[in-house]
Point group: C2
Chain length 384, copies 2
Amino acid sequence: MSFQPPRRVLMGPGPSDVSERVLSALARPTIGHLDPAFVAFMDELKDLLRFAFRTKNELTFPVSGPGTAGMETCIMNLVEPGDTVVVAVNGVFGGRLAEMIERVGGKAVRVTESWGRPVDPAKIEAALKQHPEAKLVAFVHGETSTGARSDVEPLVKIAHAHGALALVDAVTTLGGCALEVDAWDVDAAYSGSQKCLSAPPGLSPVTFGPRAIKKIESRRSPVPSWFLDLRLVMAYWGGGAKRTYHHTAPINALYGLHESLLILKEEGLERAWERHQKHHLALAKGLDTLGLGLFVEESARLPQLNAVSVPAGVDEAQVRRRLLEEHDVEIGAAYSELAGKIWRVGLMGHSSRVENIVYFLDSLETVLGKPSQRSAEVARKVLS
Amino acid sequence: MSFQPPRRVLMGPGPSDVSERVLSALARPTIGHLDPAFVAFMDELKDLLRFAFRTKNELTFPVSGPGTAGMETCIMNLVEPGDTVVVAVNGVFGGRLAEMIERVGGKAVRVTESWGRPVDPAKIEAALKQHPEAKLVAFVHGETSTGARSDVEPLVKIAHAHGALALVDAVTTLGGCALEVDAWDVDAAYSGSQKCLSAPPGLSPVTFGPRAIKKIESRRSPVPSWFLDLRLVMAYWGGGAKRTYHHTAPINALYGLHESLLILKEEGLERAWERHQKHHLALAKGLDTLGLGLFVEESARLPQLNAVSVPAGVDEAQVRRRLLEEHDVEIGAAYSELAGKIWRVGLMGHSSRVENIVYFLDSLETVLGKPSQRSAEVARKVLS
């Protein structure tokens, strides 16, 4: 029988709600990946990604796989066996970066930080002083596992001052808060389609600046993956008229990403950032009414991913289950050392709407057995 | 501006035409990849893939990337540094397999064959005698670059007789001609969503039998890719209630694949194979009327991919361009040593319909300047 998914309100760590406009773009007729009409479309899509990343980088395109494939594209191409990489680990995704570095034979120098805290530039600098041979600094802009935002620009400056490149995980941040690839001099970044862009999961936008390309072009060893080898992928995505076949692009998924980027462009990037921030403040105020606090210190909070501290005595899994089963609202659990301690409440892209905030707070009141706290009304006031 | 793709008749080497039913499945609401409703859907999808592969293999699921990612999943997990692999190279994709083997540190023993010819079991046997240390035999069932079908069962028998596993590229064959993973004792196979399944490109169904799993579980070295590491992926796709997060699955693309497999199941697998064969014979007859022959010897022709010899004096690129621009029909060019010598005419999945055969032959008559040859009528007669 055909699968008819339930209608959910997606307020977890991603995927976020996908608009009707993007959903219907997915259903447009499939055409060939070498069709001249598709080739023109690819150029437009790359331009839209440059707009979202705030970059002029020629090598900007969506990897044909989820965010993890984009992350691995960056590591596989930028790291060679024996290379030292300083990698900040303040959550799940920093840890994943370190694992990927080691799998390709790199030496990962882990700079750890408590989960929920941003990356500390002083510790990165100390690691670079101890490892002057380091060729790359890798870190996560917005840690989806904790809700903490790190400050990109000083970290990039420190990397460059020590002769290393800077790789930024922008999976959760692209489109949801300030990210300036060119102005901050980021060498490479990757993201995902299913967070603040609000396209379905399955694509990973990436961008590479001149230093990163130089590193890739001067590699002495082949990239272990044929699928993710940028020298091959570039001939397809960057080939212009001389485009050569590499793999078959996921045509319909790309229609969806293109439409989601158009929506972002119509709103304006800065306005989208402001919307995420405003809605985050409204949510925080509403939660406060319910006696719920945010786990991350104020200066480092991601507006698009709110880590809500679970109050003592509350069965956090039951709250999530009841929100889903009785109200069709999905929020996220936490992993590892934060498991059971926080809920992850996403306000990403198309999910960052006043309707969602009101409906979530009202549902949460019911589930927590605190009806008529009027948290939704309080949140609305912040927005008016 | 929203992208409005042209409507094409897709008769190249893939993607094939995607039905309205599959397109509308893509546009259903996105839900979370850990939603209980999605978890139940994943189990159904795996069952449908087992049906298509004719296997009971527990480890059967779609890799979150195009066919190339499925190919690399197999190579990365089944080959360790120093392993010898006998790989048949009778077209582009055999060559790609060999490259992937070498990138992960394997030793690829290439058994070459002229393009357009099937893999010769005697040559594979000779290579295994010369390389008794070989742990794997890898070959392509249906070479999309040439239109040749190889005989899987004897090749698997030879591999096993020499203590090697057998890996089969079924990208173009799954759903389009007989493929019996269990009955033929295939150890691992991968396919693509955009050929005879007629879902959009971007997913790669894979299946692994007990010997393959034993090999994976006894690896001494980590898989170089974190994204494609089956030990991690298995915990997600095979984890049941204890499912652990690995990467975010491409939800909407999976809706489409599920729907395409339902359509295949409704038709019946053997009936789908027969349809492909019947339509292939009709096309061949129609082409014959126009004086056009098939490049591959009769016994090795893939019904779903017809390599048509380009007649002397015909500008093959212009024919393709006019078919596309004037008739919205896409057919494929050829690569490398076959470039300019053949057209690749696909009759895959939803594209394998009498309407497409008639429209293509009629359009081709016009483009070749041979109107009123009534090739379409001849083709129709074969089908009546």
